[in-house]
């Protein structure tokens, strides 16, 4: 065996065992401390301002909105975040409108946490609009685990211990890896925001929950085909459960399906029945109005007003009619 080295070691280290033990202890203490600190860091006030992931500051808006007391609350996936302008809706309807931002990935983790939090701090709205892409109606079964980080971030930041524990039961590695992912994601997003001089928190608050999409590359064209992975998602359980949970005497509920690009297989989605959730089939819009970003749902800014106006038209009778809305 390496006898020479052990002799050398004795010569180099007067108290080898004590020194070595202290060395190993400190070596492991550094990563353990920084790792644990990650859980505390994410719950600190102001984290979303100087840290946070790409969507973090936007998603955080829904949790901080107190005293808003909006008449219309929109709760949906990223199609609601990108494709609707709540301020335009407020102007058109003459009532206060807010969107509580989510993404499909975050919904898979937080479910309706943001909505519950909002309702706990504000008076009940007259109408809650659940606005989803046709393929995100069962968001709790979302399979792309790469996109759930934003949800984990919100859960770690705003969730109770029991909510975190409940998520850990479903995804044991999620909470364990969360601090590592946070340290990986946060500096990049923070640096990017600093370079672009964006105040993401103020921007989302000023728009009442609308996020402007930076260019997402190319637009779709009429030869597009919605991926079977999306078009084949037929289940609507999550949306149905939301409507059942939140419909009350004071609050009407409306489920609205976001527009779908006129791709070659669009009828597979638009021609389907949405009677189970009392929703109208999605409107088909020109494929070139959508970004080709793999989600088939995010609109070019020039088409957002049209999508917003469509929702306004759907909301108006529900507001006029008072309570009621959909009856899934």
């Amino acid at each position: 065996m390496n006898a020479q080295s052990h002799e050398a070691e004795s010569a180099e280290m007067p108290e080898p065992r004590r020194v070595l033990r202290r060395y190993l202890l400190w070596l492991l203490a550094v990563p353990v401390f920084v790792y644990c600190f990650g859980f505390a860091l994410v719950r600190m006030p102001g984290f979303e301002r100087w840290g946070g992931s790409l969507y973090g500051p936007s998603l955080d808006f829904g949790f901080g909105a107190s005293g808003v007391n909006a008449d219309v609350v929109i709760f949906g996936d990223s199609s609601a975040l990108y494709d609707l302008r709540p301020l335009e809706m407020s102007a058109a309807l003459g009532v206060k409108t807010i969107n509580l931002p989510n993404t499909a990935g975050s919904l898979a983790v937080t479910d309706d946490m943001a909505l519950r939090d909002y309702l706990g701090r504000n008076t009940p709205p007259r109408l809650i609009v659940f606005y989803f892409s046709a393929w995100n109606l069962d968001y709790l079964r979302y399979e792309d685990m790469h996109l759930i980080y934003e949800g984990e971030e919100m859960l770690a930041r705003h969730g109770s211990f029991s909510e975190i524990l409940s998520f850990a039961k479903r995804h044991p590695d999620g909470p364990l890896l969360f601090p590592l992912e946070m340290y990986s994601v946060t500096p990049k997003a923070g640096v990017m925001a600093a370079v672009r001089r964006q105040d993401r928190v103020s921007a989302i608050a000023a728009s009442m929950g609308h996020m402007d999409a930076a260019s997402r590359g190319q637009h779709l064209d009429s030869s597009c085909v919605i991926s079977s992975n999306l078009a084949g998602r037929l289940n609507m359980d999550s949306a149905r459960s939301l409507a059942l949970r939140y419909r009350s005497a004071q609050t009407a509920v409306l489920i609205f399906i976001a527009p779908v690009p006129e791709c070659r297989n669009a009828s597979q989605v638009a021609g389907r029945s949405y009677a189970a959730i009392s929703a109208a089939p999605p409107k088909l819009m020109q494929a070139s109005s959508f970004w080709d970003d793999g989600f088939y749902t995010h609109l070019d800014p020039s088409a957002i007003s049209e999508a917003t106006a469509d929702l306004v038209e759907a909301v108006r009778p529900a507001l006029d009619g008072g309570s009621g809305g959909s009856k899934p």
Binding site: M1, N2, L24, W26, L27, E181
Partner: protein, 524 residues
């Protein structure tokens, strides 16, 4: 299983260390059996079906080793068994690595459109095959003795070296597995080994993977590239390969050290080499040593014997003649490096890589002879310090440039692809802005440039990990730089400052290994 994965770091390694400690309370054989078992688990975690191939290889070789040992008194029989073993090993290697490629090449050459799907290569097949061939050869020559099966299995499969080396020699390993000592975790070895492992992990995750994207995107282009992109791609690949292989080697040696086992050194700042001979004494050292012992030397001995039979001289003087040099140096060198090239892969580009290095080595040897003849035996350097520094810098730069050209072939998907890349490097294409930024955003170009400057500053300006750990004899060999003076402030010692530094590297590496990437040498 990858060294740079959470499963390895937080499950496999702790379990193996604890099991080692427990087994150590019983008997040496329990320790050997435990490490052997865990090594097989480690291998099976990747592709369980490969485990069968590994076990078959070990079983066949151990059986052949037994037959050689039993017939050692009968040179004819033992040699026959040796050749049987070599043929079986090379046959398996040839089947997995080359058979389908050659078949497809022949099919294309014959104008047929029929192509066969590639066979999935069992991980580390070259490494465990070479290790076992060397053992059989030495056994037949009486240099090695037959070992018990558990020691043999551990020698071949010990997980730190199983996938990508270093190529172990039984003479270095067997005594360590069989020594009667207390098989317990030694705090000193765990501290040195863990620190070394983390340094390697940092090199792989924080450095090699940083350069991989730029290298990948440059080599993904098969058409003509602007000069700056071609250079950037080639240089980033050189850095990626350097830190990847260096990181892997550090991790392998560090892991072995945690179990108080010393591995041979495999990587020693090769880009600091001042000539190609020096380069091959620093790059994949165990492969160089292997091919020297089992290829170059036998070829040279065979040639010398043949020359003697023909009445020609084999002296140093004869070696300095053009005819003697060609037959005794150039020929064995080119053949050896040609085979080393093929060892890396079945493509023509690997052969060019090998032949290029064979040519470099031949020129280097010729230069040494010419210089020796001109200056005589006492080659005293009478240059001043500045001239010496400039001379040294030029030698290092020239050696690196030669290596860089060969690495383009090493990375490219074909010879045509490599030539297109080299053409891009040598011919300045495009306008000034294209030349400056390669048609990319200024930010990306500047960031890449800064990363490369940082990478080369580490490569050329910093001591390597063996030097940093030099007080604790990190590997088996004593090398040239062991005698060089390393600044005291960079020498590792188990102090709190180092604990913080290594701990921080460990944490940063953990943050960056969420999608672990494989090591480049896995493909061999």
């Amino acid at each position: 299983m990858l060294f740079n994965s959470y499963l390895f770091l937080f499950v496999f390694l702790p379990v193996t260390l604890v099991g080692y400690q427990i087994a150590g309370h019983f008997h040496r054989k329990a320790v050997v059996a435990w490490l052997g078992l865990m090594s097989l688990v480690f291998y099976a975690c990747w592709h369980p079906e490969f485990l069968v191939e590994l076990l078959v290889s070990v079983a066949v070789n151990y059986t052949v080793a037994g037959l050689i040992s039993r017939n050692i008194a009968n040179p004819f029989a033992s040699r026959a068994w040796l050749w049987t073993g070599i043929c079986l090993n090379l046959g398996a290697l040839g089947y997995f690595k080359y058979f389908v490629r050659v078949l497809n090449f022949a099919s294309s050459a014959a104008g047929s459109s029929r192509h066969w799907a590639d066979i999935v290569l069992p991980l580390g097949i070259s490494f465990f095959t070479f290790t076992q061939i060397a053992y059989l050869v030495d056994l037949q020559q009486g240099v090695a003795t037959l070992q018990d099966i558990s020691s043999y299995v551990l020698f071949v499969t010990f997980f730190p070296h199983l996938i990508a080396g270093p190529i172990l020699h039984h003479k270095e390993m067997m005594p360590q597995f069989q020594q009667s000592r207390r098989y317990q975790l030694r705090l000193s070895d765990v501290a040195v080994g863990l620190s070394w492992f983390i340094m390697g992990l940092g090199k792989k995750v924080l450095l090699a993977d940083t350069f991989s994207e730029t290298a990948k995107s440059a080599f993904a282009v098969h058409g003509p590239l602007p000069a700056i992109l071609a250079w950037r791609g080639a240089l980033c690949y050189a850095l990626q390969l350097y830190f990847d292989f260096s990181g892997y080697s550090d991790m392998a040696l560090g892991l072995a050290r945690m179990f108080s086992i010393d591995f041979p050194l495999n990587f020693s700042s090769p880009y600091k080499s001042k000539n190609i001979i020096d380069f091959w004494q620093r790059w994949h050292i165990t492969l160089s040593s292997y091919i020297t012992t089992y290829l170059f030397t036998p070829i040279q001995i065979w040639i010398s014997a043949r020359r003697q039979r023909m009445g020609r001289k084999v002296s140093r003087k004869a070696l300095a003649t053009p005819e003697g040099f060609v037959s005794m140096v150039a020929f064995p060198t080119l053949v050896t490096m040609f085979i080393a090239g093929i060892w890396h892969g079945a493509g023509l580009q690997f052969i060019v890589f090998g032949v290029l290095h064979g040519s470099y080595l031949t020129v280097n040897h010729a230069w040494r002879i010419v210089r020796h003849n001109r200056m005589g035996a006492a080659m005293v350097d009478v240059r001043g310090p500045l001239a010496r520094a400039v001379g040294h810098g030029s030698s290092v730069a020239l050696t690196f440039f030669c290596v860089l050209l060969s690495l383009v072939f090493f990375r490219a998907s074909s010879c045509g692809h490599a030539l297109s890349m080299i053409r891009g490097m040598l011919l300045a294409r495009g306008g000034l802005s294209t030349w400056m930024f390669g048609g990319e955003t200024r930010g990306k170009a500047v960031l890449d440039l800064l990363c490369m400057v940082g990478g080369f500053a580490i490569v050329w300006g910093m001591p390597n990990t063996q030097q940093i750990l030099g007080r604790f004899k990190p590997a088996l060999q004593v090398t040239g730089w062991d005698k060089e003076e390393t600044p005291v402030h960079v020498l590792w010692s188990p102090r709190v400052g180092w604990a913080f530094t290594i701990g921080a590297i460990f944490f940063l590496a953990l943050v960056h290994i969420q999608d672990p990437s494989t090591f480049l040498y896995f493909q061999f």
